[in-house]
C-alpha cells in the first residue's frame, strides 16, 4: 500500500492505495465522490472524465498513485461557488442535454476542457472533441446544442427542441 495525497475540488485529501488502484476507484470508493462514473473498461466511454492539473483525464486510465500531489477536479466541484449550476451545467438542463445522467458528469467535464481551449467551437469541432464520450440516450443532438449555447452561440436555428 502506498500513501497518496492530492487536492480534490480544492480540498486536501490523502489515502492508502494499492499500486493497481485506479484514480476513479480512489475517488469513488475512498473519497465517496460517486459522481464520476465507470461505463467501460477500455477507456472508450468517457463517463469517468475528471480534470487533473487542469487537463481532462479519463480517471479509469490513471493510477491513483500517479495523481499524487495533483490538483484534481470532479463533477462534484463543478458548480458555481454559491451552489448554482455553472454555465455548462445550466445549458445541459436548458437544452435537455441529458436523460439517464450516467454519461453526464464526463460530458460536462469534457465540455469544460473543450471550451477552455476553444471558447467558441463549431458543431464539427464539438462532435470531434466528444469522440471519447459515449452517450446512449440523447443521440448527441441536445448535447452539442447545449455546448454551443454554453459558449454563447445562438442555437435557436438548430432543428426542433
Amino acid at each position: 500500500m502506498t500513501k497518496v495525497s492530492m487536492t480534490v475540488n480544492g480540498k486536501s485529501v490523502s489515502g492508502e492505495v494499492e499500486g493497481r488502484t485506479l484514480l476513479v476507484n480512489f475517488l469513488r470508493n475512498d473519497l465517496r465522490l460517486t459522481g464520476t462514473h465507470v461505463g467501460c473498461d477500455t477507456s472508450q466511454c468517457g463517463a469517468c472524465v475528471v480534470h487533473v492539473n487542469g487537463e481532462a483525464v479519463k480517471a479509469c486510465t490513471m493510477f491513483a498513485a500517479e495523481a499524487d500531489g495533483a490538483e484534481v477536479s470532479t463533477i462534484e466541484g463543478a458548480a458555481n461557488p454559491d451552489g448554482s449550476l455553472n454555465a455548462i451545467q445550466q445549458a445541459f438542463q436548458d437544452h435537455h442535454g441529458l436523460q439517464c445522467g450516467f454519461c453526464t458528469p464526463g460530458m460536462v467535464m469534457s465540455a469544460a476542457a473543450l471550451l477552455k481551449e476553444n471558447p467558441k467551437p463549431s458543431e464539427h469541432e464539438i462532435r470531434s472533441y466528444l469522440q471519447g464520450n459515449i452517450c446512449r440516450c440523447t443521440g448527441y443532438h441536445n448535447i452539442i446544442k447545449a455546448i454551443m449555447a454554453a459558449s454563447g452561440q445562438d442555437v435557436e436555428q438548430i432543428a426542433a427542441e
Partner: protein, 788 residues
C-alpha cells in the same frame, strides 16, 4: 403559444440538477456496511461439459469468504421465463432449465460457473484465477439454420432438439396467403438479416444483495426497469422468498433500453448469498462482462415476400424468420419475435392477407431478448425494405406506392389480430416531405456529385404497438404476468402531493412529466407534486417501464387515482362550503360553488382531510390518498414517417448520414422537449444498428465484439442534427390522456430509412445491381456490394 406549465409544456427536468452535480444515486453508489464483493468466473468456451471445478486452492486465498458453484443451487429454482408460446401445432414451446450458476454444462461464453465472494473485489478476482476448471469442450451451435438441421449438436441435452418453437400467425391464413402469392401480378422477395445488437446502457448492471437478520428481510438493489417484476420472479420462482420479506430497489438507473427489464442470475445470486453469508454482497458488471451477460437484441434471419396486383395494391405478405433465442430463454424472449413482431407485419398498409412464420432457435450464444422496439423494428425493417424494393422493381415512386396502400380509415382491424384506433399516415408523410425538404434533394444530390460522392434519400413509415397491454389479452397469448400499471396519489395535509408510481424512470424524465399531468388536473403548481418510483417498499405493485408504456399505462393509472382524489376532495369542499357536491368546481387550485363567489382553497381542503374537525365523518373517511390500477383496453399505435439522406464515398464505401428527419404521431404530448429527446436517442440507436453496431460471434461461438474497441457505438461525429416533428396528433381513443408513447419510435423508424438511402445512393451511382445490403452497412460491405 407554447405553454409554460402543465400538459404540453416543455418544462425543464428537475432530475437534471442531481445528475449534473454528481449527486445522483445509481446502484453502484449504494454501499452497505460490511459488504463483500462477488466476482463471477465465466465460461470462456461456448459449449462444454463441466467435468470438475476445483476450488480448494482458491478457497484459501486472501480475503475469500466463500466460493459458490452450481452445486450450491441444487434445490434452488432456476431463472424463469415470463412468456410461453404455443407453436403452430398447438404444442407449448420447449423450455430449458436455466440455473443461477452452470450445472453440468456451460452453454455460452460468459455463462457463470463459479461465484467468488471476498472482502474486496480485487481479492475475488485474484482467487478466480486459482480455480481449476476441467471442461470438456463440445461443438458449438452458432448458426441458426445449422442448429435446427438434423443431427445438430443439442444445446440442451434434455430437449428434443434446438427448436424452441415453430410459430405460425395467422395459421388459418396460411393457404390463402400461399394462393394469393401464387396468383399475384408481381411478387417482391427479399432475404435479410436483422443484426444482433447489444443494448449498452452506459451504466453497466449492478446488484447489491442485503439481508437483515432482525426481521428476516432481504433487500436487492438492482439496475432494473421494473423492480416489482424482479421481486415477483426472483421471490416466487428462484429463491422462494415471499414478497413481504423481499424488497427490490432500483434507484437512479443509467439507461435500460430493454436489457434491464429481465431478471438475471446475478440478482438472484447476490440476494441468495447475502442470506447465506448474513452480510451484503455486491456485484458490479464490467463492460466486457456486460457484453457476455446482458441479454442481446434482434438477431433475426428473414425471408419476406410481398405480393401486388396489377394496380400495385398489396395483396399478401408472407414471411419466414429464424429468431435467435441464445442459450437460455431470457424473461420475455419468446414474445419478441412472435406477438411483438408478427402483429405489426401489416405496418401502415391495408394488405388483406398476411402469414408470419417464426422459428425460434437455441444456440450457444448469450440469450436474446427485447431491445428498444423489440420485434417492431424487425417487422418494420423487413416490410419497409421490401416495399422500397418493390417500388424500384415496378419503377414507381416509393412515396406514392406507400400512400396508395396506406390504411386511411380507423379503427382498422389488421389481418394480424390488432385494431389500430387512430392514425393519419398521409399527414405524417406530408409533414415529413416538408421538414426533410424533399424539394431540395436533387440540388443537394448534384452538389454531392460535384464532390465525387453519391447521395441517396431513403424514406419509410412505421407503426408500433405500445402501451403493453390488456392483461386478459396477453394472458391468452402466453404472458405469465399482468400488464397493468399502478399509482398511489398521496395528498399531504398541507397540500403537497406524493405520487407513488409503478412506472420506472431511467432517463425518461418521469419526475418532471408526471407532475405536469397531476398539476394540470388540480390546477396547482407542478412543484407541489413529487414522484416516487423504483422501490417496492413504497410503491404499489407495478409492472415497470418498457414498450413505451409509461405515460400510456402508468400515466393513465395516475390520472385515475387523481380523479378519485378530486372526487373525494369535492365532497370535503362541499361540506366546508355548505353546498351541494354537484355544484363544486375545481379550478386553479380553488374549489368554488358554481355561480357564486364562495370558495375554499386546495390547502384548506387537504388540511381538513387530515384534521377532520369540521368534516363529514359519517359519509367519508379522513385522509386523502387514493390508488388506481389501470389495465389498458388496447395497445396504442404511434406511427410516423422518417427520411434519411446519406452520402456514400464510392472510393471507400463509407456512408455518412447527412440529414435525418422524423415526423411522428404520438397522439397528445405531455412534454415536447422530452419527447423530442426520446426520438433523438432512438434515431441514433437506429443509425447505429444500420451503419455501425454488430454483435459478432465466430463459428466456435467466441464473442468477437466484447468491448467498445470492437463493438462500434454511435459517437457524436457519426450523426447529424435531426429534424423532428410531432405536430401530427391523432389522440389515442382509449386512454384518458389520449397519449400513445414515444420511447421506441426512433429506433423502430430509422434503420430502414438509412438502408433505403444507401441503396438509393448506390443506384444513383449506377450500381443498379445492388438490391440489399445487410446491416450494419459498413464501408467493407458497401464497397463490396458496389464491385458486383
Amino acid at each position: 403559444m407554447p405553454k409554460d406549465t402543465g400538459i404540453g409544456a416543455s418544462t425543464k427536468r428537475r432530475e437534471d440538477v442531481r445528475f449534473l452535480t454528481g449527486v445522483g444515486n445509481y446502484t453502484d453508489d449504494v454501499n452497505i456496511y460490511g459488504q463483500a464483493y462477488v466476482h463471477f468466473l465465466r465460461s470462456d468456451v461456448a459449449h462444454g461439459r463441466i467435468k470438475n471445478i476445483d476450488t480448494s486452492a482458491a478457497s484459501g486465498m486472501p480475503g475469500v469468504v466463500r466460493i459458490f458453484t452450481g452445486a450450491d443451487f441444487e434445490g434452488v429454482g432456476g431463472i424463469p421465463c415470463g412468456w410461453q408460446i404455443t407453436d403452430r401445432h398447438g404444442n407449448p414451446m420447449q423450455e430449458p432449465a436455466h440455473p443461477v450458476l452452470a450445472q453440468g454444462k456451460v452453454r455460452h461464453v460468459g455463462d457463470p460457473i463459479a461465484a467468488i465472494v471476498a472482502e474486496t473485489l480485487e481479492e475475488a478476482r485474484d482467487a478466480a484465477e486459482a480455480i481449476e476448471l476441467d471442461i470438456e469442450e463440445l461443438p458449438a451451435v452458432v448458426d441458426m439454420k445449422a442448429a435446427v438441421a438434423d443431427g445438430a449438436t443439442k444445446v440442451h441435452d434434455d430437449l428434443e432438439n434446438n427448436l424452441c418453437y415453430d410459430w405460425g400467425f395467422v395459421e388459418e391464413n396460411r393457404e390463402a396467403v400461399d394462393k394469393a402469392i401464387k396468383e399475384a401480378a408481381h411478387v417482391t422477395t427479399l432475404e435479410l438479416v436483422n443484426n444482433r445488437l447489444v443494448a449498452n446502457p452506459m451504466e453497466p448492471r449492478v446488484a447489491v444483495g442485503d439481508y437483515n437478520r432482525a426481521d428476516d428481510m432481504s433487500t436487492l438493489y438492482t439496475t432494473s426497469q421494473n423492480p416489482h417484476v424482479i421481486r415477483l420472479l426472483m421471490g416466487a420462482f428462484v429463491l422462494g422468498i415471499p414478497e413481504h420479506k423481499l424488497r427490490v430497489v432500483a434507484p437512479d438507473v443509467g439507461g435500460g433500453f430493454g436489457t434491464k427489464i429481465f431478471h438475471y442470475a446475478e440478482e438472484a445470486f447476490c440476494t441468495f448469498a447475502a442470506r447465506q453469508l448474513k452480510r451484503a454482497v455486491k456485484w458490479t458488471s464490467s463492460r466486457s462482462e456486460a457484453f457476455m451477460s446482458d441479454a442481446h437484441g434482434r438477431d433475426h434471419v428473414t425471408k419476406i415476400e410481398l405480393a401486388l396486383d396489377k394496380d400495385n395494391n398489396f395483396t399478401a405478405i408472407r414471411t419466414e424468420t429464424y429468431a435467435n433465442m441464445g442459450a437460455y430463454l431470457s424473461t420475455f424472449a419468446p414474445s419478441v419475435p412472435t406477438w411483438l413482431h408478427g402483429t405489426l407485419m401489416a405496418g401502415n398498409y391495408k394488405t388483406p392477407l398476411i402469414y408470419v412464420n417464426v422459428k425460434a432457435v437455441f444456440t450457444n450464444t448469450v440469450p436474446v431478448d427485447a431491445y428498444r422496439g423489440a420485434g417492431r423494428p424487425e417487422a418494420t425493417f423487413q416490410l419497409e425494405r421490401v416495399v422500397d424494393k418493390a417500388a424500384r422493381e415496378l419503377g414507381v415512386d416509393p412515396v406514392a406506392l406507400r400512400r396508395q396502400n396506406f390504411i386511411t380509415e380507423f379503427p382498422y382491424s389488421t389481418p394480424v389480430a390488432v385494431e389500430y384506433d387512430t392514425g393519419d399516415y398521409d399527414a405524417t408523410m406530408d409533414k415529413l416531405q416538408e421538414i426533410a425538404d424533399f424539394a431540395g434533394f436533387e440540388a443537394r444530390r448534384k452538389e454531392s456529385e460535384k464532390r465525387g460522392k453519391l447521395r441517396g434519400l431513403g424514406i419509410n413509415c412505421y407503426i408500433e404497438a405500445c402501451g403493453i397491454a390488456p392483461s386478459n389479452l396477453v394472458g391468452q397469448l402466453g404472458a405469465r404476468a399482468g400488464l397493468y400499471e399502478s399509482a398511489t396519489v398521496r395528498v399531504n395535509a398541507t397540500g403537497g402531493i406524493t405520487v407513488m408510481t409503478g412506472s420506472h424512470s431511467h432517463g425518461q424524465g418521469h419526475e418532471t412529466s408526471f407532475p405536469q399531468v397531476v398539476a394540470e388536473m388540480l390546477g396547482i403548481d407542478a412543484s407541489m407534486v413529487e414522484i416516487v418510483h423504483g422501490d417496492t417498499a413504497n410503491t404499489p405493485m407495478g409492472m415497470g417501464t418498457y414498450g413505451s408504456r409509461s405515460i400510456a399505462v402508468g400515466g393513465s393509472a395516475m390520472v385515475r387515482a387523481t380523479e378519485k382524489i378530486i372526487n373525494k376532495a369535492k365532497k370535503i369542499a362541499s361540506h366546508l362550503l355548505e353546498a351541494s357536491e354537484a355544484d363544486i368546481e375545481l379550478k386553479d387550485g380553488q374549489f368554488t360553488v358554481a355561480g357564486t363567489d364562495k370558495s375554499v382553497a386546495w390547502g384548506d381542503v387537504t388540511l381538513a382531510a387530515y384534521v377532520p374537525h369540521n368534516y363529514p365523518l359519517e359519509d367519508i373517511e379522513p385522509g386523502l390518498e387514493e390508488t388506481a390500477f389501470y389495465d389498458p383496453a388496447n395497445f396504442t399505435y404511434p406511427s410516423g414517417a422518417y427520411a434519411c439522406e446519406v452520402e456514400v464515398d464510392p472510393e471507400t464505401g463509407k456512408v455518412t448520414v447527412e440529414r435525418f428527419a422524423a415526423a411522428d404521431d404520438f397522439g397528445n404530448i405531455i412534454n415536447p422537449m422530452i419527447v423530442s429527446g426520446q426520438v433523438h436517442g432512438g434515431i441514433a440507436q437506429g443509425v447505429g444498428q444500420a451503419l455501425l453496431e454488430n454483435c459478432a460471434y465466430d463459428e466456435n461461438g467466441q464473442l468477437l465484439s466484447a468491448s467498445y474497441m470492437d463493438y462500434a457505438m454511435p459517437r457524436a461525429d457519426d450523426v447529424p442534427f435531426y429534424q423532428v416533428d410531432h405536430s401530427c396528433q391523432t389522440p389515442c381513443t382509449h386512454n384518458p390522456l389520449g397519449v400513445k408513447g414515444c420511447g421506441e419510435a426512433g429506433a423502430i423508424g430509422s434503420p430502414p430509412a438509412v438502408i433505403n438511402a444507401v441503396i438509393d445512393a448506390l443506384h444513383s451511382g449506377g450500381h443498379t445491381h445492388v438490391e440489399h445490403i445487410n446491416m450494419p452497412a459498413t464501408p467493407a460491405r458497401v464497397w463490396a456490394a458496389m464491385q458486383k
